[in-house]
């Protein structure tokens, strides 16, 4: 029987020829990833279980990005635990602040995660790697500790939902709008425990940045992983970055799917997800008058150079509205440097935006843009839960970089078409 790309990657990481939905497997991992929030718990569990040496120092990846550069003494201590472990275990893939960026933007950029890989990350947005045609899933710290010890993870092979996208994208509609639209349509548990495979003519023409954004947010529909079939666009992205060999997989024509969902993208407008769930989406034209105190452009979802270019294109020659804070966060030092070379940072500064160093920071209510009681932000991040970016009575509206940039100028949520 035919297999989906997800099933093929999983099978290849076991000694089995074929796997199918519902099977319990023990799979070998190519990358075991942790950050400053989740790694300390994994390190403690690893030690408690008698661990002395990680299974492979090349395959353990540790990135200080959530509360780094250290936001306070407690987060400094957590980064120190991770850094000491890196020294002790002689971990190859560790990125110190200055070289570090938001993990899910950094690892593809560095060619550390590659097509065909099986990646487990103690961070829910590890599903981002599906954009490369890899199997990436978020797990907890205990799973990471077990992988440190054994190099393996227990998994149930997921069923796959296939999303076939066709038609031409409307102006200002990006990968972010597509994934918000899909989450709005199927709900926050609409793909629970399943794989979401994106295909179709629209997807084949999407650039890598849009694919990363879409794969990144499949967790917001409850999915296990999201995945794209690697193609020429994938190849041109990875070929000069890859630090080792990689494999392109494709789904068989007789692969079995849980469901096939056909979407005509030409009817999709820019989307805004109202609090407190990413599924509360509305077309930009249906938003109404939502005054904002802040706009955030960044995160593992939308902090890539393509996102900053879109935002700068809108902000050029304009100023952020009075009493609004616009916070721009390039996701990695390379993105930061490219934005500087292209003159994007000048545009942001001239518009009165503030530029943060690469960090997850405000996305999860850490620092660098926390909201007070009653404040409202529009944000290119991935979650708008209660209290997500600050006080429990603050509100987060999710959007694309284009909407976030235009909203910063308007002082309310709106489209670049209104400028």
């Amino acid at each position: 029987m035919g297999m989906t790309i997800t099933e093929k990657i999983l099978a290849r990481h076991t000694d089995l020829v074929e796997v199918g939905p519902g099977m319990l497997i023990n799979a070998r991992v190519d990358i075991a990833l942790g950050n400053d929030i989740t790694a300390p718990i994994a390190i403690e569990a690893f030690r408690k279980a008698g661990g002395t040496k990680v299974f492979d120092r090349e395959k353990v990846v540790l990135v200080p990005d959530h509360f780094a550069p250290n936001k306070d003494i407690a987060s400094a201590e957590q980064c120190k635990v991770m850094r000491n472990f890196v020294r002790e275990q002689d971990i190859t893939h560790y990125y110190e602040v200055g070289e570090a960026g938001i993990e899910h933007a950094l690892l593809p950029e560095k060619g550390v995660v590659l097509p065909g890989d099986l990646v487990i990350g103690a961070d829910s947005h590890s599903c981002t790697y599906g954009a490369l045609g890899a199997f990436g899933i978020g797990v907890g710290s205990t799973d990471l500790a077990a992988a440190f010890l054994t190099g393996e993870i227990w998994l149930i092979v997921p069923e796959t939902m296939k999303f076939v996208l066709h038609g031409k994208l409307n102006k200002w509609v990006s990968g972010k709008d597509l994934i918000l639209y899909i989450i709005g349509r199927i709900g926050v548990d609409g793909a629970i425990y399943r794989a979401m495979e994106f295909t179709g003519e629209t997807v084949r023409n999407l650039g890598m940045a849009d694919r990363f954004t879409m794969a990144n947010m499949v967790i917001e529909a409850g999915a296990k992983n999201g995945i794209f079939i690697p193609d020429e666009i994938t190849k041109s992205y990875v070929k000069d970055r890859a630090e080792r060999d990689y494999t392109f997989y494709d789904s068989d024509s007789d692969a079995v799917y849980h469901s096939v969902i056909d979407i005509d993208v030409s009817s999709i407008e820019p989307q805004v997800a109202f609090p407190p769930l990413p599924s509360n989406t509305r077309d930009i034209g249906q938003v109404g008058h939502i005054r904002i105190d802040q706009s955030v452009i960044g995160s593992c979802t939308n902090g890539r150079i393509e996102d900053l270019r879109v935002a700068a294109g809108i902000l050029k020659g304009r100023k952020v509205a009075p009493f609004v804070r616009l916070i721009v966060i390039p996701a990695t030092p390379t993105i930061y440097k490219t934005a500087m070379q292209e003159g994007l940072l000048d545009i942001f500064l001239a518009a009165n935006a503030v530029i943060s160093p690469p960090t997850c920071g405000p996305c999860l209510g850490g620092y660098m843009g926390i909201l007070a009681d009653g404040e409202v932000t529009v944000s290119t991040t991935n979650r708008n839960f209660v209290g997500r970016m600050g006080h429990r009575n603050s509100e987060v509206y999710l959007s694309s970089p284009a909407i976030a940039a235009a909203s910063a100028v308007l002082g309310r949520i709106g489209s670049p078409e209104e400028l």
Binding site: T14, G121, V139, G140, A146, W154, V188, I219, R383
Partner: protein, 169 residues
């Protein structure tokens, strides 16, 4: 194993930011995290609960972040188990991996009220209200491997006990 405790009810899609807000993720110490469990869902929660109490929630409990601080804070707060219509997948893994008993019941939520005293039998896989004796609410069966994890008290102790050939490779 049997657990008896009072019910605390929560709705659908209780996310991990509600269970433990990220502002407390500067530590993983259970003795600090326990004081903030469910803080943004019900600010007075921690002052009201007693050891052994039980969370009963709607669908998709634990959606959002992979933070294990969420099940850690629930366990450390003294909650004996969580029963939901369904669980988000990372939370589901994490709970079994670190030894927090969780059960799925599509009907219990509609049949109990906050403050009800219920008994949970984790081996027979049912819950029962204490005030009207005999009606039991069966849980969705726990898959055999998850049962092994639960009986071992979590993934790390399961791994240390595991004999070779336990799982398909």
């Amino acid at each position: 194993m049997k657990y008896t405790g009072r019910v605390w009810k929560f709705g659908d899609d209780i996310d991990t930011d509600l269970i433990i807000p990220a502002r407390y993720l500067t530590t993983s110490d259970p003795n600090i995290l326990d004081g903030h469990c469910m803080e943004d869902a019900d600010p007075g929660f921690i002052g009201k609960i007693k050891k052994g109490d039980i969370l009963v929630a709607g669908k998709n409990f634990g959606c959002g972040s992979s933070r294990e601080h969420a099940p850690i804070s629930i366990k450390a707060a003294g909650i004996s188990c969580v029963i939901a219509k369904s669980f988000a997948r990372i939370f589901y893994r994490n709970a079994f991996n670190m030894g927090l008993p969780i059960f799925e019941s599509p009907v219990l939520w509609d049949r109990v009220s906050g403050g009800d005293l219920i008994t949970v039998d984790s081996d027979q896989e049912w819950a029962r209200k204490m005030d009207n004796g005999s009606e039991t609410f069966p849980f969705k069966p726990i898959p055999p491997f998850m049962r092994e994890l639960m009986n071992a008290g979590g993934l790390m102790s399961f791994l240390s006990r595991r004999q070779s050939g336990g799982m398909a490779k």
